[in-house]
C-alpha cells in the first residue's frame, strides 16, 4: 500500500491542449454540392485547436475546428465550479443543394429578377448556386453565486444567406422555377431565474425571438404570362414567451411538477402592389399548462399521472381560415418491478383536439394503450417486448366537410387505429462481446368510417413498416476490436384518389425497402503506438409505386414506377495513427464515398419540359450522383 500525500489531491493549475494541422487532397467527380451538402471538404490545410485550463475551481476550454472554412466552429466555455459558467460560440453550417444551376434571369439572390437571356435558349442562361450558409454566434452565462438561487441568461444571433429553389405557376400546366433569395436574421434571447433546493424547484423564464427577412417579396417578369409578377416571402415575425416551472417533493417518494406558459407570435407582411394585397398583421397566442404527478411509493412500483393543456388562438386580422384549437391530454404510466427480474410498464393516454374553424374536423380523439415487458433474469441477456395500440375517432358534425359530403379524409385527423409491436434482445455472453437484435412492426389503418358517411375512403388508407436492427461488437483482448451494424426497414402504404375529370377512383401502392450496414475494425498493431482503423458503411434504398384504376385508362401499361428515390450511398475509410512520441502523433488516411440516385422525377431532366409550351426549370437537384476520393495527412501536437 502506498502512502498518498495529501498534496496529491491539491488542485494544481492544469494547462493542456492540442493543435492539429491536416492537409488533404480531394477529387470529386459528379455533384460536388451533394458531396458537400453540410460540409466544405476541398483541397487545403485544415486546422483545429483544443485548449484546456484548470486551476482550483476555475476552468476554461477553447475549441476551434475547420478554421477558415465554411464549417468553422469556435467555442469558449468556462467558469468556477459551483459559482458560474459562461460560454461563447461561433458556428457556420452550410447547406449546399446544387452548384451550377441556370436561369435566364439576372440578379439571382436579389429580391428583383430581370430577364437577361433568351428563355428558350438554355445556352444563354446565367449560372448560380443553390446554397445557403448559416452563421450563428452567441453566448450565455449561468449564475449560481447565490445558490440555491440561480439565473441563466443566453442570447444568439443567426444569419442565414443564400438561394433556394422556388416556383411560380402560370395556369395549371406551366410554371417557372426561380432562385429565391434567403436573407434571414434571427435573434433570440432567454433568461431564467429560479430556486432549486429540495423540496422545491421554482423558475420563471422569458424567451424572445425576432425574425427579420430582408426580402419581403421576389419581384420578376413572368415570361409565360407576360406580366410583372411577385412571390411573397416569409414575413418578419416576433415571438415572446413567459414561462413558469415548479416542482415540489411530496411524501411517499412523490413529486408534483407544473409547467405553464403563455406566448405570442406576431408577424408583419408588407403590402404588395403587384399582387394587390394589403399589409397583414398576424397574431397568434398560445397557452400551455402541464401537470405531472410522479410517485415511487414502494420499491416495486413507479407511477406517473399527467395532464397537458395547449391552446392556440389565431387572432390575426383578415385570415382566410382561423386555425385555432385546444389540445388536452390526460394519462398515466405505471412501472411494476415484478419478481424474477421482470419489469412491466403500462400506460394510457387520452388526447382530445378541438378545432375552432377547421373545415373537416371538429374534434379528434386519440386513445393510446401501451405495455412493455422486459426480463433480465440472465446475467448475459436482457429481453424486451412491447405493444402499443392507438384508436382515433373523429367528430365532423357541423363542419363544411360533412355538409359537402367531402370524400377525402385528411390522414392527420382521419379515424383509424395503429398497432405497434416491438421486441429486442441484448446479449453479453462474455465481457468483450455484445450483440443486440431488435424488431419493430407498425401498422396504421385509416379505414374507420361512421355508417352513413361517404365510404369512398380517399386519401391515405394504410401505412405499414417492418424494422430490423442488429448491432455487434467484439474486442480481441488488446489486439483489435471489430464492430458492425445492420438496419432494415420495409414500408408500404396504400392511397386512394379520385379524378374528377375522369369520374373514377384510382389507387397507388408505394413500397420502400431500405437497409444500411456498417463494419469497422480497430487494429492495435503496436498497442498505444500504432493503430489501424478501417470502416465501411453502405446505405441502399429501393422504392416503387404501383398504380391501379377501375376504368383501366388512367394507369395504362408503363404507369408503374420502379425508380422511386432509389439510391446507394457507400463510404470507405482507412486511417493509420502513429504516435511518434508522447506529444506528437501522425495520422494518414484515405476516404472514398459514392452516391448514386435513380429517381423518375429527375431522370431525363429537361430545363424546358413541355415541348412548344414549356415550363422553365433551373436544374435544382439535378444529377445528384458523385464519387469522391480524399487523401489526408494530419499532424497533432499535444502539450
Amino acid at each position: 500500500m502506498m502512502l498518498i500525500p495529501f498534496s496529491a489531491f491539491a488542485d494544481e493549475a492544469v494547462f493542456e491542449g492540442e493543435v492539429t494541422a491536416q492537409g488533404q487532397l480531394v477529387h470529386v467527380s459528379g455533384n460536388k454540392a451533394n458531396f458537400n451538402e453540410y460540409s466544405d471538404t476541398e483541397d487545403g490545410i485544415y486546422g483545429a485547436i483544443g485548449l484546456r485550463y484548470e486551476k482550483d475551481s476555475y476552468f476554461m476550454r477553447f475549441n476551434a475546428s475547420d478554421i477558415g472554412y465554411d464549417t468553422q466552429k469556435y467555442t469558449l466555455d468556462g467558469g468556477m465550479w459551483g459559482k458560474f459558467k459562461y460560454d461563447l460560440f461561433y458556428n457556420e453550417i452550410p447547406h449546399n443543394i446544387t452548384f451550377g444551376a441556370k436561369t435566364f434571369y439576372s440578379g439571382a439572390g436579389d429580391s428583383s429578377l430581370n430577364i437577361k437571356g433568351d428563355p428558350d435558349n438554355v445556352s444563354t442562361w446565367h449560372s448560380f448556386d443553390y446554397e445557403t450558409e448559416r452563421k450563428r454566434f452567441g453566448g450565455g452565462v449561468k449564475l449560481d453565486l447565490l445558490n440555491p438561487f440561480f439565473v441563466d441568461i443566453s442570447a444568439q444571433t443567426e444569419k442565414k444567406e443564400g438561394i433556394k429553389p422556388a416556383g411560380v405557376n402560370s395556369g395549371f400546366a406551366r410554371f417557372t422555377e426561380l432562385p429565391e433569395p434567403i436573407d434571414y436574421r434571427t435573434d433570440t434571447f432567454h433568461i431564467e431565474g429560479g430556486y432549486s433546493k429540495k423540496p422545491f424547484f421554482v423558475s420563471l423564464s422569458y424567451d424572445y425571438s425576432k425574425f427579420n427577412n430582408d426580402d419581403q417579396a421576389l419581384d420578376f417578369f413572368n415570361f409565360i404570362n407576360g406580366v410583372e409578377d411577385s412571390l411573397t416571402l416569409p414575413p418578419d415575425n416576433k415571438y415572446y414567451k413567459f414561462g413558469f416551472k415548479g416542482a415540489v417533493f411530496l411524501p411517499y417518494n412523490s413529486k408534483f411538477s407544473l409547467n405553464a406558459g403563455t406566448a405570442r407570435a406576431k408577424s408583419q407582411a408588407d403590402s404588395n402592389n403587384i399582387l394587390d394585397i394589403n399589409h397583414f398583421s398576424g397574431k397568434v397566442d398560445t397557452t400551455n399548462v402541464d401537470m405531472v404527478l410522479t410517485s415511487n411509493p414502494a420499491s416495486f412500483l413507479d407511477g406517473k399521472l399527467f395532464y397537458r393543456y395547449y391552446d392556440r388562438d389565431n387572432e390575426s386580422d383578415d385570415v382566410d381560415e382561423n386555425l385555432s384549437w385546444i389540445d388536452r391530454s390526460l394519462g398515466g404510466q405505471f412501472v411494476f418491478k415484478l419478481p424474477a427480474s421482470f419489469r412491466l410498464t403500462t400506460g394510457y393516454t387520452n388526447r382530445r383536439t378541438t378545432y375552432e374553424d377547421r373545415f373537416d374536423a371538429k374534434k379528434r380523439t386519440d386513445d393510446v394503450y401501451s405495455a412493455d415487458l422486459s426480463w433480465s433474469g440472465l446475467d448475459f441477456a436482457t429481453f424486451r417486448v412491447g405493444y402499443e395500440y392507438l384508436h382515433r375517432s373523429l367528430d365532423r358534425d357541423d363542419t363544411e366537410a360533412k355538409a359537402d359530403d367531402d370524400t377525402i379524409w385528411r390522414f392527420d385527423v382521419a379515424p383509424g387505429h395503429r398497432n405497434i409491436f416491438k421486441a429486442s434482445v441484448d446479449l453479453f455472453p462474455v465481457d468483450n462481446l455484445s450483440l443486440t437484435v431488435g424488431y419493430k412492426y407498425k401498422k396504421t389503418d385509416y379505414e374507420d368510417r361512421p355508417l352513413g358517411e361517404a365510404t369512398t375512403g380517399l386519401g391515405l388508407r394504410d401505412y405499414k413498416t417492418d424494422e430490423v436492427f442488429i448491432d455487434a461488437s467484439y474486442a480481441f483482448a488488446a489486439l483489435a476490436q471489430i464492430h458492425g451494424y445492420f438496419d432494415y426497414e420495409k414500408a408500404r402504404s396504400l392511397q386512394y384518389g379520385h379524378s374528377d375529370s375522369d369520374a373514377t377512383n384510382w389507387n397507388v401502392r408505394q413500397k420502400e425497402k431500405t437497409f444500411d450496414y456498417g463494419v469497422g475494425t480497430d487494429i492495435f498493431i503496436i498497442p498505444k503506438k500504432l493503430t489501424l482503423k478501417v470502416q465501411y458503411d453502405y446505405v441502399r434504398a429501393d422504392g416503387s409505386a404501383d398504380f391501379n384504376d377501375f376504368l383501366g385508362v388512367l394507369t395504362p401499361s408503363g404507369s408503374d414506377i420502379s425508380d422511386w428515390d432509389d439510391y446507394r450511398l457507400q463510404a470507405f475509410s482507412v486511417r493509420v495513427m502513429y504516435d511518434i512520441m508522447k506529444s506528437v502523433s501522425l495520422t494518414a488516411g484515405y476516404v472514398y464515398e459514392q452516391f448514386k440516385l435513380e429517381d423518375i422525377q429527375l431522370e431525363g431532366y429537361q430545363y424546358l419540359p413541355g415541348g412548344g409550351s414549356p415550363s422553365y426549370l433551373t436544374g435544382a437537384y439535378k444529377d445528384p450522383n458523385y464519387n469522391a476520393n480524399v487523401v489526408f495527412l494530419a499532424l497533432t501536437y499535444k502539450f
Binding site: 405557376n169 400546366a173 429560479g194 389565431n314 380517399l458 438496419d487 444500411d516 446505405v539 429537361q606
Partner: protein
C-alpha cells in the same frame, strides 16, 4: 387573614407549580439535547466507522482509482465533490467490511453493474445532483420510466465533456438504433456531420415536452432554427401550423426535405380528389413519360405551390 393565607398559598402553589413546570421544561430540553448529541455522536461514529479510505481502495483497484483521480469527481475545488466527502466510498458505500473479508462480492459494496437496479444507481448520483436544475424533472422523463440510469450515458470515473461515455450521436444510437437508421438516410439533419447534436432538440434528463424535446410542442422547437416558418401567415396550412411531423421525418428520410413520402403522393394523402390534384401522377407523367406533367417531375407539387408552409398572398400557396 384566611383570604391572605389562601392567596399566599395559591401564589406559593402557583410559584411551585411554575417552578416545577420550568424544571420540567428544563429537564426536557436537557434530555433532548443529550439525545441529539448522542445521536450525532452515534452518526459521527458510524460515519467514521465502516469507511476504509481511498488509499485502501487504490491498493486493489488502481486502474479505477487512477481514472477517478483524473475526473472532476476527484477535484476538491468543486463544491460537494466526492473528493470532499469519502472519495470512492461516497458512491460505492463504506468499504471496511469489504476489505476485512478480503474483497469480492457480497460484502455490501454498491457496484454500478448491468444487473444493478437502475433506480438504485440513479439514486447514488441524485444524492448529490438531485438539486441541480438540470435534473429537476428527471422523474417526468421517459428515460427514468424505461429504466435508464445515469451510468448508462455518463462515466463517473471520467470521460469526455460532461463525463459522457461517448460522443453524440454514437452515445444515443447505442439504444436508439431506429434513429441511427433514419439519420443515415440521404435527407437528414446534419447530425453525423457533427453540426447538430441530439441534445440540441432533446433533453435526456426529462422535461414536459413530448419525446423529451426542449419545447412544449414540436413546432415551437422547429421554429428555433426555422423561424421563417413561424408566421403567422395570412393563409395558413393546417398540418403545417399544427405539427411539422405530419409531413416531415425529422431524423431523416429517403425523400428530399425529410418528407415522410414523396410528393405528389404525400400531398394527395390529403388532396387526392379534384381536377388536377385528383389525377394519378404515374411514370407516364415524368420527364421521360408519354405526357410529362408539372405535378410530377422535378419538385412535383412544389413546382407551383412554393409557399407550402404559409402564404401572405393567397390560399393555394402559389404566391
Amino acid at each position: 387573614m384566611i383570604c391572605f393565607y389562601t392567596r399566599f398559598k395559591r401564589r406559593l402553589f402557583m410559584k411551585f407549580k411554575r417552578g416545577l413546570l420550568m424544571k420540567r421544561i428544563l429537564y426536557l430540553f436537557l434530555s433532548l439535547f443529550v439525545f441529539f448529541l448522542s445521536v450525532y455522536a452515534q452518526k459521527s461514529a458510524e460515519g467514521d466507522a465502516g469507511y476504509a479510505g481511498a488509499d485502501t481502495c487504490k491498493g486493489c483497484h488502481a486502474e479505477y482509482y487512477d481514472s477517478y483521480a483524473k475526473s472532476i469527481h476527484a477535484r476538491k475545488a468543486v463544491p460537494g465533490s466526492p473528493a470532499n466527502l469519502n472519495a470512492c466510498e461516497s458512491c460505492h458505500g463504506p468499504g471496511s467490511a469489504h476489505v476485512e473479508k478480503g474483497g469480492g462480492k457480497g460484502t455490501g459494496m454498491f457496484v454500478f453493474s448491468r444487473k444493478a437496479d437502475a433506480q438504485d444507481k440513479a439514486a447514488k448520483c441524485l444524492a448529490c445532483h438531485e438539486e441541480s436544475r438540470h435534473l429537476a424533472f428527471w422523474d417526468n422523463g421517459r428515460h427514468k420510466s424505461a429504466g435508464v440510469s445515469c451510468d448508462d450515458c455518463h462515466s463517473i470515473h471520467g470521460g469526455r465533456g460532461k463525463n459522457l461515455k461517448a460522443d453524440q450521436p454514437d452515445l444515443c444510437f447505442d439504444c436508439h438504433k431506429d434513429i441511427r437508421m433514419f439519420s443515415n438516410r440521404q435527407s437528414h439533419h446534419p447530425i453525423k456531420e457533427g453540426k447538430m447534436n441530439c441534445t440540441d432538440c432533446h433533453n435526456p434528463h426529462g422535461g414536459f415536452g413530448p419525446k423529451m424535446i426542449k419545447a412544449d410542442v414540436v413546432n415551437e422547437l422547429c421554429y428555433t432554427c426555422h423561424a421563417e416558418k413561424r408566421g403567422p401567415f395570412r393563409f395558413e396550412h393546417q398540418p403545417v401550423a399544427e405539427n411539422c411531423l405530419t409531413c416531415h421525418n425529422v431524423h431523416g428520410s429517403n425523400h428530399r426535405a425529410m418528407l415522410v413520402s414523396k410528393p405528389p403522393q404525400l400531398c394527395q394523402d390529403c388532396h387526392g380528389d379534384g381536377f388536377h390534384n385528383g389525377r394519378p401522377y404515374t411514370g407516364q407523367t415524368s420527364f421521360k413519360g408519354s405526357s410529362p406533367r408539372a405535378q410530377m417531375y422535378s419538385r412535383a407539387c412544389m413546382n407551383c405551390h412554393t409557399n407550402i408552409h404559409g402564404s401572405s398572398s393567397e390560399n393555394f400557396f402559389l404566391r
